[in-house]
Structure formats: C-alpha cells, structure tokens
Symmetry: C2
Subunit: 490 residues, 2 copies
Amino acid sequence: MSKKITSRAEDYSLWYNDIIQHADLAENSGVRGCMVIKPYGYAIWEKMQAELDKKFKATGHVNAYFPLFIPKSYFSKEASHVDGFAKECAVVTHYRLKNSEEGDGIVVDEDAKLEEELIVRPTSETIIWDTYRKWIQSYRDLPLLINQWANVVRWEMRTRLFLRTAEFLWQEGHTAHATKKEALEETDKIINIYSDFAQDFMAMPVIIGSKSENERFAGALETYTIEALMQDGKALQAGTSHFLGQNFAKAFDVKFATKEGTKEYVWATSWGVSTRLMGALVMTHSDDKGLVLPPKLAPYQVVIVPIYKSEEQLKEITQSVVKIKESLEAKGISVKFDDRDTHKPGWKFAEYELKGVPVRLAIGMRDLENGTIEVARRDTLEKETLQMEDIDIKVENLLEKIQNNLFNKAIDFRNENTYMANSYDEFKELIEKGGFVYAHWDGTSKTEDFIKNDTKATIRCITFDSEGKDGKCIHSGKKSNQRVLFAKAY
Amino acid sequence: MSKKITSRAEDYSLWYNDIIQHADLAENSGVRGCMVIKPYGYAIWEKMQAELDKKFKATGHVNAYFPLFIPKSYFSKEASHVDGFAKECAVVTHYRLKNSEEGDGIVVDEDAKLEEELIVRPTSETIIWDTYRKWIQSYRDLPLLINQWANVVRWEMRTRLFLRTAEFLWQEGHTAHATKKEALEETDKIINIYSDFAQDFMAMPVIIGSKSENERFAGALETYTIEALMQDGKALQAGTSHFLGQNFAKAFDVKFATKEGTKEYVWATSWGVSTRLMGALVMTHSDDKGLVLPPKLAPYQVVIVPIYKSEEQLKEITQSVVKIKESLEAKGISVKFDDRDTHKPGWKFAEYELKGVPVRLAIGMRDLENGTIEVARRDTLEKETLQMEDIDIKVENLLEKIQNNLFNKAIDFRNENTYMANSYDEFKELIEKGGFVYAHWDGTSKTEDFIKNDTKATIRCITFDSEGKDGKCIHSGKKSNQRVLFAKAY
C-alpha cells in the first residue's frame, strides 16, 4: 500500500487529508461527522493537554466535570446564547430501545419518550451556571476558577478532520468573579496562556486581539482570540477567551453577598481550545513529505533505526543503541528504538518522515567501527554523520534548534504573507492572494458584512496595539482609528 | 451551615451521601441521573487516572478516542451484546432545534430527523471493532493494545452518586490478538493491574476471580473481576476484564493473515474501571467524621493551619511554614497552606477532617518558641506535638504508615466479615448478617438464580485458587469442586 502524499501546490486540501491519514492521526468513523482519533494523533493531543493543564493549574484553576446532557429549557434562558448554540445539535428524545414486534432488529421504544428533550452539550455555560447558583453565596466563594476537559457536539454540515467535526474534544474554562475588572483580567490572562502555548509548544505564531461584534461568542460582551496563518494563506482561529459580563449570572440568577452586605450579580468568563489545534499544528509545519512535529509535542522526539544484515549484527548494534537510548532518556528525551525485523530500514525511514519524528538516528556496523552515528532532522531533511561522543548533548541541542527553527520559519512565512491594504481594490487583490491583510475599518457591522459577502474575508481580530493610528475605512471611506486584521478563514 | 454527617450505624446510605456532599466530591445535577463531579472529587479521580494510565502505558497500551455515538444497527451485530446494552440508553433521534411557531421557546425540528438513530455509547465494543476491521490485515498489525478514557451513558432507573449514574467516566481497553492464549494472558494481566492499583493506591483489598455465566459481560466468554467488601457488608465490583473470544471479530468480520498465509478471526479482550471506584474509595475507609483518604490518592496529603492572633504573628508563622512546605514538597509531598483569614482554625480543622486530608500540621506562636509542631493524622485521629527537626522525614514516614494502616484495617475488616457456609441455613444466616460468604455451588445457573431470588446474594466470583477442594452444593447437595464467593452487592 503506497502512502503517497498529494503536494500542497497540487491540492492543498487533499494534502491535508493525506497527512492526517498517512501519519495515522485520525480518520472518519462510521458515524457522520465524528472522527476516530488514532493512537499517534491522540498521543500528540495528550501532550497538548498535559501542557495546557499545567498552565491552568499554575494559575489557580481546578478541573471538574459537568453533565454531557443539557435540558432544552436551559438554552432558552440566555437570549443570544440560544441563537448561537441551540440549533444544530444532537437531541436525545428517548431512553430505551426494544426488539421490534416484527422481529427484525431493535427499534426506539415510543413509551420511553423523555418529558423534556436533552441536548448533547455544544458548550456548557448553561449547565455550569445553573450549578454555580448553588455554589456561590458570598464573596468568600469567589473567584471560582474551573476548567473541564470534555467532548462536545455541534451538528456541523460540512466536516473536516480536526478542523470541524460533529464531536470534538476540548477544554472549557468557566470562571466566576466578584468584579468586572477581575473577570476582564482573567479573560486576558487566559488568551495569553493560549498564545504562549501556541508559540512555545506548537511553534505556531499567533496574533492576539478581540473579535468584532459580529464574530463574538454567543452571549459574550467581548471575545479575545488567537489567530494563526496556515500555509494556504487562510487564517485559523486557534483559541478564544470570552468576557461574558453578567449575562449568565442574570440568566441563571447567580448573586453573591459582597463584603459590604449588598447582593450583586457575578461576573463571568469562559474560554476554550479544542482538537482543532491538531489541524492547526498539521497545517503550520508539515510539508509535501508528510507531517512535521515540533519536538515539544512529538510523541517520540527521536527514533533509532538499526542497519543490519544478520541477527548477530543487530545484537551488536543493539548493545550500543541501548546506551544511547539511556543517555537520551536521562535528559528527558523520548526515544523509540525500532528494531522490528518485519520492515527494512528504508521503509522505516519513510514511515518516520511521514510521521514527523523530529530526529532520526541510524546506526550500522560501519558506524560501530568508526564510533559514528547518522543524524537526520525532519524539519530541514538534512542529515550528517556525527561522532558518537556526547551524542546526548548533540541531540538535545538539535531538538531545541528544530523547535526554534520551526517557529522562525512560521514567523517568516507569516511576515511574507501579511499585508497592508490602503484601498478597497488593493484589499480585494491581496485577500484573493491569501494571507493576513491589515486595513482600516469604520467599526460598523454593515461594512464588515459587505466585505464578507464580497470577498469571503472576515475580521479575524482587532489587535490590542492597533488603536490610535487614524485613517479611513477602505470600504466606506469613513473615519477609522485602527487597522484591523482581515483574512479568509477556516 | 452545619455539615453534620449521619453515622453509619444510624443510616449507612445517608452517611454515604453526607460524605459525598460535605467533602465536596460530587452532587446531583439538573439532569436526571447525571452528576457534577466537583473539583475536590475530580482531583481524586485525576490521581486515579494518572496512576492507571501509567500502568497501562508501562504494559504497552496506547490511548485513542472513538465516537460518542454508535449507530443503532451496530448493536444488532453481536447477539448477546445487544440484549445487555442496547436497551436502557440515550437515543439521539434529531439534529436540530428551532424556534416554535407559537413563539414560546425552542422545539425539536421534525424535519431534522436522523435516518438511523444514534445511541450514546454505553460501552464501545461495537464501534471499535467496526474500526478495527480497517486497521487489522495481517499478524504484523497485532496485538492492538488500545485504551480510551471517555464518558458513557446507561439509562439507570435508580441512581446513586458515583456508584450508579446515567453518565459516568471510565476507561475502556479494547485489545486484539492473534491467538486465544495471548488474549487470555491480556485479560489476566489487566485484572492484576486493577488489583495492584486497588490495593497499592486505594488501599482497598480485593479478591480476584472469574464471573459465573450469569454475571458475565454481554458478549464475553470469560469475565474476570475484582471484588471489594464495603463497610456495610456488601460487595462492590470494582473492575472487570473480559475475554471476548472471537465474538466481536466474527460480528464485525475482522480477520487477519497469519504468518502461514491463512486467514483467521482475531481474538479480543475488553476491560474497564470507572468513577464507581470513587464510591468504593469512600466506602472502604471513611468514618463518621467524614472522608478518609489514602495518602497516595489525596489531592493534598498535608494541610498546614497557622494559629495566630495578629497579622504580625501570621507573618512570623508564615516564614516558618514556607520552609516546612518547601522541605515537604522537595520530597514529592503535596501540601496546602491554609492562611485564609476568613475562617478560624477550628473551622479549618473540621473542614479538613471532613475532606479526609491524611496529615494536618498546626503551628502557633508557642510552637515557634519551642521549635515544635502539632501533627494530626486523619486515619486514627491521633495528634501529637513533635520537634520541628526533620519534620519532612517524619511526615514522609507518617504518610507511608497511614497508607499501610488503611490497607491493614480494611484487610482486618474483610477477614472479620468473611465466612464459610456449610449448609443452606447457615448460608442464609451469614448472608443476612452481611459480608463475604464462601460456599460450595453445583455450577448451575438454576441454583445460582434460586439463591439470588431467595437471599439477594449473588456469586461475586469464582476465585482462581478455589478449585480442587471438593464438597457438596449448599443448596442442591450436588457435587461441587469449589467454594465460590457469595455476597449481596452494589
């Protein structure tokens, strides 16, 4: 079975699917829009989870678990939220199956109809704020800093592995605060955690900013986002942090007694990243040869392939490999030694290239004689033969170099594909080319809608440092005090 | 708000609920039968997950993720499985809601009816084996050793926090093997992992054995179980490991090419433990004062409470506490320093007793002068004043002592409540008293059913070491070659 990858130039979308498939990350299941995350893909997700979880806990957050199902009526309580979320969703209406009377299989038991339908959570604000009402009485109970790792379901019509699936995995933080200021600080703190994670671990540069009203989360007063640029010139929203004001506290009647003895509504935030990050990771670094992984998220950072002709040679090589492996592992480097005799070295090389393992070591009899080892890096595809001495230090340095190189390469790509548009014609031309386009905007939904309909570009975010630079809206010509970031997006 | 705990003698069931509630482990949600796992409870579950995950990975297993939904037709493919699982379950029939035409809220959109209903997974054998068909072609693809951490839903009529809930969290392992022998070895390996985890981490003694045919998993040829004894004399099944033979391979047509070139059906196992373990943990160690946690699973193993009258005193005490905390943490001990000024020391003492924190340190001004510290252990409720010197070593030893003491106490309890019955009258009397009862059984379902209907006791397991000791069935008087373990059970 050949594992040929379509080139990006040929068909970007096929390229993406080929990588997901051939690097064994995920596949479609027998259930429409739901994916199976395969062990290799899941191992990357576990690494993401571990790092994010550490960051959340280091900033005082704790994990909890809330129900998968939400009663239909909960959604109606927050007016803007219901329009955004309670539409395309999985609805549980019955709780029993039975053998059909015709004896041809099992059917829904109509006697087991739920009095109120349950929605499989598309996001958990409503059920969580219904719970918080019981947990919050006084200022002593605040802040409440809770996160949940969970699966959610949104009945998407067009799905793509990792990027848009009916069921996906995510974390959703839901915090409650005594003051607006504190809630805003939390919203900001989290978007910075997301940004740090994306840049330091995924080696994926992101731009932080706030969403325009059109693009905000349903029920939020403010949505902060991190936006990354994919290799096809499209933007990908990689994480969002929402300031929810007192909307959910009012909808679910969550008040607290202040120190002064008055009763006030609680201030809220919510925030999340999902398995969508897996798609972002793939599209940020991979090439026409397959997946490319930043060392910090690679399930194994180093693979060692023995080159041998006989059992005896393998034995000798193995002795040497065991030592190398131990010295690398002592430095916290994860290593796979692939000594399977069912596959040839060439096959293995191709396999690990496809799977994006950052560093490949190969060692044969001549290496043993010469005290050398072949070191290949996945990012640049360069290889060289090094002296075995201090190989642990050399590999450690190389992994750091690869991590940095991937980030720098992605930054360079973004810089090369980021533009300033000063007229609407110029804007249209640049958007057609693909990439990030900064342009002045008059701040109205009307203009935003027009541009979206006309060019498919949306405002990805209003960056925090863009204010105070006056100009004229590229479309309406009206006064603008900021350039905002436009792009076509996933 | 008083946090009074009902005593076990007064009402065991209320006692259990009081502990879950007042130790902040979990609560019922607005969704029937679904619980909210609160941060403190979830932190214990996370510790369980981490340890189990480590053991699974150390034995070559990897994690993956399969869809939440299973098409109804999948269940019909394995005959005995459908009867066991596809009955009381959550059924998704629609994928959209809409605003009602009367304008009074949202209703199910009848135009968005699914062609085939989806079942929220009660367990994942069917969807996983449907996937394995694509993954397994040759003996080179075997064994496949996959685990999944997930939520599942079984529409239980009578629910109890952690012990029996409609939605619960669990891990489910699903492995595929080339030979029957290998699959049986896997089944055995896993039940021993569960047993080691229960005994070494939960400090909960368990008995390993196989289930009688009546009590087997739907679709299994053999079910191994670990059974623990709760303080009310009832047994709790804490984990199961199933040998599935070739049943699922045949149902989903999963064959592999052997080394010899023939085609054979794959051999399967599945195994799982769930948040039910949380209920087992509570009921194994807790007392009338609240939760008691084994140190290895306590979210924090040590809490330090300062005793002070002024800000200045707190400052002085804090200086000393910071050093103690650091020295404990250097030994890998998790410590909480509760310096909140919103609560008095007495309140804090009661709170941590309720929450089962293994060791409590208290330190006041006189301690600072004398170089002493008060050390209280939760398991025995003893306290003593110790010299501050080497406090890290003293606490480390104490934690180990507590872990062992809890296990030994539970073993003693089990020994005191384990009986041999030699006649049916004796059996009935002992079962009524509560506890484990070993008795001879003729091996028939008929006898088993009779005993169950008559006494509510079931065969918990057939222990592996019980064979070859001949006797006569306590009920039928027929020949028996083993005593089996009976009890009333959760």
